[in-house]
């Protein structure tokens, strides 16, 4: 005797698309695209029209096509390549260092109550102190070179990933841990097979926050004390009144942020196929 499931089995409709179906599907894709990106396209179109017709001062808001030309020109002649490379390097080193310290420390603090209790007050103090306010201190200690820039980005980037990891570990369902223990799992096995995988979604939330933070701090640090980098180029273009180039650099930063986020989302979807939250 086997059990007859009360739940209907999964079924997939047999695909046999006719011309009308393909057309309808095409319409659906177009509509989905329009609802998703319509407002964005409208915003860019409004900008273009407003700048061309003189509704806004085109010296401050140049038309989109001029910005695109400036961006293309700067990318094509390689004048921004060095800046992009140095910016990526600064943000990248800081991000990797913050993740390399934040995740293990967060896992430790989330697991061991004593360590969390001892470290929490000082971490709260550090977190509430603006990284930019500390930048002068870092410059005094580390000099005006690369180290202080990377360090200030690292400092600000550390906290989102650290706090998200601690939160993730602490929020693991105690009932799952008890289940694993009831099958004879010891502390290290519980950690490896239950706590770690259960924390992955929360860790990814932290990674995405940290990636955004690292780019924010990158620009601020480059605007304050650098002679290279995308943030420096934004400031420099503004000083020299190359407004299309300024917007081009700003656009480039936005693209960097979107790209970083997209990479992390793709990685998250790959690692957390099981999770509803990541879909």
């Amino acid at each position: 005797m086997t059990l007859q499931g009360l739940d209907p089995p999964f079924s997939r409709p047999v695909a046999n698309p006719s011309g009308a179906v393909i057309l309808r599907r095409g319409g659906l894709v177009a509509r989905r695209f329009a609802t998703r990106y319509g407002v964005l396209i409208g915003f860019l179109a409004f900008w273009q029209v407003a700048a061309t017709l003189g509704w806004v001062n085109p010296a401050i808001f140049p038309p989109i096509d001029q910005i695109a030309t400036a961006l293309w020109g700067a990318l094509a002649d390689g004048s921004l390549t060095d800046d992009i490379a140095i910016s990526l390097q600064r943000a990248g080193i800081a991000f990797v260092a913050a993740v390399g310290l934040g995740i293990p420390l967060g896992l430790l603090m989330g697991q061991i109550r004593v360590i969390e209790r001892a470290l929490d007050p000082i971490l709260q103090l550090f977190r509430q102190t603006s990284a930019l306010a500390l930048y002068p201190v870092f410059i005094l200690i580390l000099g005006l070179g690369e180290t202080s820039k990377v360090f200030v980005i690292f400092w600000a980037t550390l906290f989102p990933i650290l706090l998200a990891t601690i939160g993730g570990v602490k929020e693991v369902d105690a009932k799952l841990i008890e289940m694993a223990r009831s099958y004879g799992a010891r502390q290290t096995t519980v950690f490896r097979r239950v706590i770690l995988p259960a924390s992955v979604p929360a860790i990814f939330v932290g990674l995405r926050l940290s990636a955004t933070t690292s780019l924010l701090l990158l620009i601020a640090a480059e605007m304050i004390g650098a002679n290279k980098g995308i943030g420096f180029q934004v400031m420099n273009a503004q000083y020299n009144f190359q407004i299309p180039l300024m917007f081009a650099a700003i656009f480039l930063l936005a693209m960097l942020g979107l790209a970083a986020n997209a990479v992390l989302v793709a990685l998250q979807n790959h690692l957390c196929r099981w999770s509803v939250a990541s879909r």
């Binding site: 059990l3 007859q4 499931g5 009360l6 999964f10 099958y183 004879g184 999770s275 509803v276």
Partner: protein, 256 residues
């Protein structure tokens, strides 16, 4: 003692067990001087009002909690914490959401050091036994409540315990699924020759599944009572004996 008796294991014996909790500064004696023995292969149901200590008793049997005094012996050996000869089925399925059905069912065996391929082979057998062969690769979020609970049951059976401890396993299921699952469990218990201790709120479930029912009362409301359920199996819920037994059991709680 005959050879057959020595072969069959899974005997539980509870001696002078007491356990109390302190709740809002008040001492609550949930279990007091409890003595009980469960024969190998027997099915015992524990019923009683909430707060009577039935789940506490099960958790002590499981080794998840320690008694204040007294002891639990399994096959004559005092229990110290969790043990391989016992498996627990909780009220919630407690599945790991990142593992497939197959991964969840083989999880218990893998924790006990069985190589993955071997664990999965045995897991597949029990997945078939609970009727989920087509869902091996599904993730828990794709399963209904009844299917998820069946995965939990398969996981417990896969470690081939002598004693199955169930804490209101069907409490969260709808009425239809619950009936099917009770029949499933009765069949599995018979086929696997397990000792089974089942905590439940549902008197009908207790009568359907158990050889004996332990009725616990709240503190100062009377001593625990053991009631034999001598209805032949497979049991029919609408038979005269069954209905009579249900009426008798309800009377224990002052219900008519």
């Amino acid at each position: 003692m005959s050879a057959v008796e020595t072969m069959r294991r899974g005997e539980i014996s509870v001696r002078g067990l007491a356990k109390s909790f302190t709740l809002n500064g008040q001492r609550l004696n949930v279990l007091r001087d409890l003595n009980l023995s469960v024969a190998p292969g027997e099915s015992l149901a524990i019923v009683g009002p909430s707060g009577c200590g039935k789940t506490t008793l099960l958790r002590v049997l499981a080794g998840l909690e320690l008694p204040d005094t007294g002891q639990v012996l399994i096959d004559g050996v005092p229990v110290r914490g969790l043990g391989r000869e016992r498996a627990i089925i909780f009220q919630e399925p407690r599945l790991l959401p990142w593992l497939s059905v197959l991964g969840n069912v083989s999880f218990g065996l893998e924790l006990r050091g069985v190589p993955q391929s071997q664990a999965q082979a045995r897991a597949r057998h029990y997945i078939r036994l609970v009727g989920l062969a087509d869902f091996e690769t599904a993730y828990p979020r794709q399963l209904s409540g009844g299917m998820a609970q069946r995965v939990g049951i398969a996981r417990a059976l896969t470690v081939q315990p002598e004693i199955l401890l169930l804490d209101e396993p069907f409490g969260a299921l709808d009425a239809m699924t619950k009936l099917t699952m009770q029949e499933e469990l009765a069949r599995i218990w018979r086929e696997e020759a397990l000792t089974m201790v089942l905590v439940t709120h549902d008197l009908e479930e207790a009568i359907f599944l158990a050889d004996r029912v332990l009725v616990l009362q709240r503190e100062n409301m009377g001593a625990p009572r053991l009631i034999d359920i001598s209805i032949p199996r497979p049991r029919d819920r609408s038979s005269g004996d069954f209905v009579k037994m249900r009426r008798a059991l309800m009377a224990e709680f002052g219900l008519h």
